[in-house]
Point group: C2
Chain length 239, copies 2
């Protein structure tokens, strides 16, 4: 009986580990999608764009796998307390990862359109933003695996920088559009690309909040900084 009991306990632990493995795999896929999407924009690399889009069904399938696994685990193991919070957290994290993959695919699609235009502008602010987003995503994927609230807080705090860059890019792009009507279509796509990158940062922050809550047992106490102020932005053509 003792052996049986141990066997059950070990196998339950293995199932919880399997959930971590699935999240690590899913995190790897969407991290790859974001890297490819950024490369597609910055290096005008159409092949990278295609690969970012082609990875999307894999991220979707992994989200479904996490969901099925969680429902099975809840039904068969009926976890309580910390384990239960960890299992429910996995569902939320998989949802955020799926959205990140979706946004990366959308960025990649728009990069294909951008290739048809001469871009008269520097993409350095966008490149900085993409770099910060990728750093935060990498860090939060590690925080998930290590259940580390300090790493989660670090992600949570640095999202503000991404939002500030987004607000700067928003105004820059509108100014370029005002200078020359031929910039309007490519800059509109760049607006949505920057917005998608900002959203990827937001979802990394959501994951950070989930990791923190699961590890510490209470939500992050500070109010989330309201980063994207572009909803209120007014830019007017020079008279």
């Amino acid at each position: 009986m003792a052996t049986d009991g141990e066997h059950v306990v070990r196998s339950y632990e293995q199932e919880l580990k399997r959930l971590d493995t699935l999240l690590a795999e899913m995190g790897g896929v969407v991290e790859n999608q974001v890297a490819l999407a950024a490369e597609a924009i910055m290096s005008r690399d159409g092949e990278a764009a295609t690969r970012a889009v082609e990875l999307d069904p894999r991220a979707d399938a992994l989200e479904r796998e996490v969901e099925h696994f969680v429902i099975r685990l809840l039904a068969l193991r009926q976890p309580v307390a910390d384990d239960l919070r960890r299992v429910v957290a996995a569902l939320k994290i998989a949802g955020d990862f799926e959205r990140i993959g979706d946004y990366a695919a959308n960025v990649a699609k728009r990069s294909i359109v951008l290739d048809q235009f001469n871009l008269p502008l520097s993409l350095s602010a966008l490149a900085n933003m993409a770099r910060l987003v990728q750093q935060n995503l990498k860090l939060v994927i590690d925080a998930v695996q290590q259940r580390d609230p300090d790493m989660a807080m670090q992600v949570w705090r640095s999202d503000q920088l991404i939002d500030d860059l987004y607000n700067t890019i928003f105004r820059e792009l509108i100014t370029y559009m005002m200078e020359d009507a031929r910039n309007i279509t490519p800059c509109t796509h760049l607006l949505f690309i920057a917005k998608n990158m900002e959203r990827i940062g937001d979802h990394a922050t959501n994951v950070a909040e989930t990791v923190y809550y699961t590890a510490v047992g209470r939500p992050i106490e500070q109010a989330r900084p309201k980063g994207d102020t572009s909803a209120y932005a007014v830019v007017r053509p020079e008279a």
Copy 2:
């Protein structure tokens, strides 16, 4: 003992009903937010905009309440089979409702900026889109309460119309921007407003998929139509 048993059963049923009540309340809040946001745009009603934004913390609090209630229910009742699927579905639906509230608040914020501009264009396509989105949202909230897969399918199918309207509006707005640089800032906000409305439609469709899956026990078999093709849109100024 029999009385005790019955008491437990009844109280468990009441808890599941309480989950429905929470979702109904949350659906009501975000439906109200979307209606106020649409009114803010169409009637240039700043007070409606403020109310849409002010409702957002209520939607967020209800999502947290659903989450806490679900975790408590999983821990204490350890539901299985249909009940378990229903409880996990409630989590996902609350997540989609929360996003809908967020998008509505963002639309409302942008409407406040729009008030500073003379809009040289008809908002009739956007009004149509907002009407369809509200219809779908109302229908899917009912589908959740009635666990009705036919209503869910109806929502799922009509999302295509919303996406078609969005693609039309996207091209129209870019054309207006090319005509006059003074249109660029307001049209950029209108682009994001239309995109947010399209996303609200997407989240209503997500909820429809969850309702269908929970009721029927398998996902909707058709592939989801790829509605928003604007990522590939190219509009050029007339020579």
